[in-house]
């Protein structure tokens, strides 16, 4: 069956993916005696580099009573060290002609820089310096508690939908605290974070043995290794707490929640299914199925919901907070869609279930599967094009899979998926029982607790309605 499909697809699409369209990246991996793993991908097509340092700690491993701490800590990594006080890091990156960022996910936290290669050595010094220790300083802690609270206001509290498709949906779908809590954090927990917490987190999770450093671009593996040895080799390894068991079974009964949203004008749903474990036999088929269903305008759900039944005005999908290959514990495949006047969450769910039933019965035809795979492989390459994206993906894969070489195997894994496997995983994972759904509807603003009494005759809305 497998071979027949492939052959058929070839004749149907004589122009599809030929040898010229495959791309293999050079990957050189070395682990230093202190446990730091270095991944280098050499590419001299531009005199620039991308750098990513991934620490194997994220929201899942932050302490109870300290929601949002892994992310707050990420901010503090930019707030100075005894040798490089606050302001030095950003200044050096800027002066090096580059930029930097960091982000916190369920299973890792990454720190990224990109710049002309002339800045590489300086940036490595900065990364090593903050791996050793930080400036544990009450003023910068307070400053970043304030900044993070503004980040949460701008992205959650003051924003329509408030990130419910990635925050609230996880709380609904999961059972274990590590998986379900709000990784942005409550203001109470953020304000409660102490310098002792910061010290302990850095000591426990930010040692070289819990990190992967990746460099892509205009550098040879030999030079990269020499520089990394020079600045990182003397950092002692530190004891890292054992990983807890985050695993939890698939859902047994559908979970539904309706939320009112005083900021939103258009109702929306998030429907999320628990996914197979990373690297399991169902993983790659499920990734391909996700693309069949939601990958662009040709996808089943786009054609069925936005087109076709015309129930929703948009369609987006998420794999946790990362991507389909970058998780190391329970994660969700989530569909987010705004629904139209007269529509309902039930109508959207019924439509998805109908399309899924058809797919489970008939599978996916060979031409469709071939098209989907072709685009998935192209998208995989696209994500690796920039030196920064390449370095970061290599670091993530090394941290999560223990093998950065996965970067060159993903296209083969995609290719190997069969139509029968799609039917199978659709039946196991994309069921109502394994689903959590939030129906988010526009709602009137709750009356303020202690309203300042406005002067009765002001009628501000009417008086100020005119635009200039």
């Amino acid at each position: 069956m497998r071979n027949l499909h492939a052959l058929l697809a070839f004749w149907l699409l004589p122009l599809a993916a030929v040898a010229a369209d495959t791309w293999t990246l050079p990957v050189t991996t070395t682990t230093l005696p202190n446990g730091l793993t270095l991944v280098v991908s050499e590419d001299h097509s531009s005199p620039t580099v991308g750098i990513s340092v991934v620490y194997k700690v994220g929201m899942r491993r932050e302490p109870q009573g300290r929601t949002g701490f892994a992310h707050l800590f990420e901010h503090l990594m930019f707030q100075g060290t005894p040798k490089a006080p606050k302001g030095v890091f950003d200044r050096v990156v800027t002066a090096g002609g580059g930029d930097n960022n960091g982000s916190t996910r369920a299973d890792f936290t990454n720190y990224i820089e990109r710049a002309p290669v002339s800045a590489l050595e300086s940036f490595l010094w900065l990364e090593a310096d903050r791996m050793k220790t930080l400036d544990f300083n009450p003023a910068t802690l307070k400053n970043q508690q304030d900044v993070v609270k503004e980040e949460i206001r701008v992205n959650v509290k003051n924003s329509p939908y408030g990130g419910f498709m990635w925050i609230d949906i996880g709380t609904l779908a999961f059972d274990k605290w590590a998986n379900k809590h709000d990784g942005y954090g409550s203001f109470e927990d953020l304000e409660g974070a102490s310098l002792a917490d910061v010290r302990a987190f850095h000591r426990d999770y930010y040692g070289p043995n819990n990190a992967v450093l990746s460099i892509a671009g205009d550098v040879t593996p030999a030079r990269a290794l020499a520089l990394v040895k020079k600045y990182f080799a003397a950092i002692p390894r530190r004891a890292t707490p054992a990983l807890a068991d985050f695993g939890e079974p698939l859902g047994q009964t559908e979970r539904r929640l309706t939320q009112g949203d005083p900021l939103a004008e258009v109702p929306a749903i998030a429907a999320a299914w628990k996914m197979p474990a990373r690297g399991s036999a169902d993983h790659a088929p499920m990734v391909v199925l996700g693309e069949v269903l939601t990958g662009g305008n040709a996808s089943v759900f786009y054609q069925g919901l936005v087109k076709g039944r015309e129930l929703s005005s948009n369609l987006e999908s998420l794999w946790g907070l990362t991507g389909p290959w970058e998780y190391d514990g329970p994660t969700l495949f989530t569909v987010f869609a705004m629904y139209k006047p007269g529509g309902s969450a039930d109508a959207l769910l019924a439509a998805m279930d109908e399309d899924l039933a058809t797919l489970r019965k008939n599978g996916v035809d060979a031409a469709t599967l071939q098209r989907v795979k072709t685009r998935m492989k192209a998208d995989w390459y696209n994500g690796l094009e920039s030196f920064l994206g390449r370095a970061d993906m290599l670091a993530r894969l090394q941290a999560l899979w223990g093998d950065a070489g996965v970067v060159n195997r993903v296209p083969d894994w995609i290719d190997a998926v069969t139509a029968d496997e799609l039917k199978r995983v659709a039946g196991i994972y994309l069921t109502p029982a394994n689903r959590a759904v939030i129906d988010r509807r526009p709602a009137p603003l709750a009356a303020p607790a202690a309203p300042p009494a406005p002067p009765a005759p002001a009628a501000p809305a009417a008086a100020s309605a005119a635009k200039p």
Binding site: T48, G98, L263, Q370
Partner: protein
């Protein structure tokens, strides 16, 4: 603005100036152990093969060895939002979106499937000055890619059903966007900056969406899509001769069919500042924007102003971000920058801040705007900003699509093809005296409009020092 408000503004400005003098922090000293930057590498100048087809279409090919992909970008000048006019506000966005919803030869679904089969993407979008169609495919698929791009640009179907659906979804998207404070602030600021010029109107209105019909779309397409106002960029794993052959085959017989639209006049370079408070009940932040008219990219002030923007408000190390975020903790991010278009430009600064510090945030912007016009930027800070701008330019253009967009974007702005090659040198030539002059010319607080989206009950009192704000209902 009333006399009272002006006086208040000056008083606030004086105290801000004093505060700024007291608080100008020295940059942190660099650690002695920090290894110095290496020698700068020579800049890779992109090899661009240019040809003008007899119908007037500019074709630029940038062969690159990289990932197995070819990008094709068609940019059509004077086809964007500034061609719409107020009654059709935002029309170009609908027009662009519908280009990819079916052609004379393929319906929308077939088109989407065919793009997928090329391992590709296809998107069309409208900006102030033009419409851009961006298509990508695996390297072996260059020929069908170019055919598809030409079909979308030249023979869009505007089928009744697709137009109806696109309108319905555009109305929903407008409703959703209107719920975000940033969208409302941008819309109000564009009006404050550009007044009656076409650039004032960049967001769709319900009336404009509703009035759109297939006939209107067809007429607009015929008027706007013209080879002599277009540039085709082909970049990627393809040789120049092959790319030019494909361009000729797909676009060589393209001719405009409608009457060309008139080119918009130059946008104003000054405006009477306004003070607007856009009511957003229950808002837990104030979305603060300050802005004024600026200049087109072809103005001699362009790069000095870009560098000034860099010092003041672009990136983590810019002055307003260091002050409002890293020093005060008022915001997740603050910026102040110049924006440039073909017929004009603007200056827009802003931050989203918690309600209690709305007035204090305005004070900090005010202080930084005065300082940049009053004091020459220290040599080291200028140098670091220049390194940031030139380094970022090299880094960004490592990516094929970014390079294609840089070239197309510059062309759309009316900049010469040599601009890319000269950019680094030109940026490095800007002096501290120029930055100071740009600061006082384009960031003088007296010339800036202020738009705040927020809850009047929480922020109106703090705004009194900054003029008389007109409250605008939701």
């Amino acid at each position: 603005m009333t006399t009272t408000a002006r006086l208040t503004l000056i008083a606030a400005a004086l105290s801000a100036a004093l505060a700024a003098q007291a608080a100008s922090p020295a940059p942190p000293a660099l650690p002695p152990e920090l290894p110095p930057f290496g020698a700068d590498q020579p800049l890779p100048a992109p090899r661009i093969v240019r040809q003008r087809l007899p119908n007037g279409l500019e074709v630029w090919v940038v062969p690159r060895a990289g990932l197995p992909r070819v990008d094709a970008l068609l940019v059509v000048r004077e086809a964007g939002l500034s061609a719409d006019g107020a009654p059709r506000a935002g029309f170009a966005t609908l027009l662009a979106g519908l280009l990819t919803e079916g052609t004379a030869r393929r319906d929308a679904r077939t088109l989407a499937q065919d793009v997928q089969a090329l391992g590709g993407t296809l998107n069309a979008s409208a900006g102030a000055d033009g419409i851009t169609i961006d298509a990508q495919a695996l390297a072996s698929q260059a020929e069908p890619l170019l055919k598809l791009l030409a079909e979308v640009a030249r023979e869009p179907a505007f089928a009744d059903g697709e137009v109806k659906l696109a309108k319905a979804n555009a109305l929903e998207a407008l409703k959703a966007a209107s719920a975000t404070p940033g969208f409302r602030a941008e819309g109000a600021m564009a009006q404050a900056i550009y007044g009656r010029h076409a650039y004032a109107v960049s967001q769709a209105t319900e009336a404009a969406i509703t009035a759109t019909t297939p006939a209107v779309l067809r007429t607009a397409h015929a008027q706007r899509f013209r080879p002599d106002r277009s540039l085709l960029v082909i970049a990627g794993r393809i040789d120049a001769a092959q790319a030019l052959k494909l361009a000729q085959a797909s676009f060589g017989d393209w001719q405009a069919t409608g009457e060309a639209l008139p080119v918009p006049p130059a946008a104003p370079r000054s405006a009477t500042p306004v003070r607007l408070l856009l009511d957003r009940p229950g808002s837990v932040q104030a979305t603060v924007r300050l802005g004024r008219p600026g200049i087109p990219a072809t103005d001699p002030d362009y790069l000095p102003l870009r560098v000034t923007s860099g010092v003041l408000g672009e990136g983590f190390s810019s002055r307003v971000n260091l002050k409002l975020r890293e020093d005060k903790g008022y915001t997740y991010g603050a910026s102040a920058r110049s924006r440039h278009a073909l017929h004009g430009g603007s200056i827009v600064a802003g931050a989203d801040v918690r309600n209690e510090v709305t007035g204090a945030a305005l004070q900090e912007f005010d202080a930084e705007f005065r300082r940049i016009g009053r004091e020459p930027v220290p040599r080291q800070e200028l140098r670091e900003t220049q390194r940031y701008m030139t380094g970022s330019f090299v880094v960004r253009n490592q990516v094929q699509s970014a390079l294609a967009y840089t070239l197309a974007g510059n062309w759309l702005l009316g900049l010469p093809p040599s601009f890319v090659a000269d950019y680094v040198q030109q940026v490095n030539r800007v002096t501290a005296a120029q930055v100071q002059a740009m600061g006082s010319k384009y960031f003088a607080p007296e010339t800036l409009s202020i738009v705040v989206v927020g809850d009047p009950a929480a922020v109106a009192g703090q705004l009194k020092a900054w003029g008389t704000f007109q409250t605008v209902a939701k």
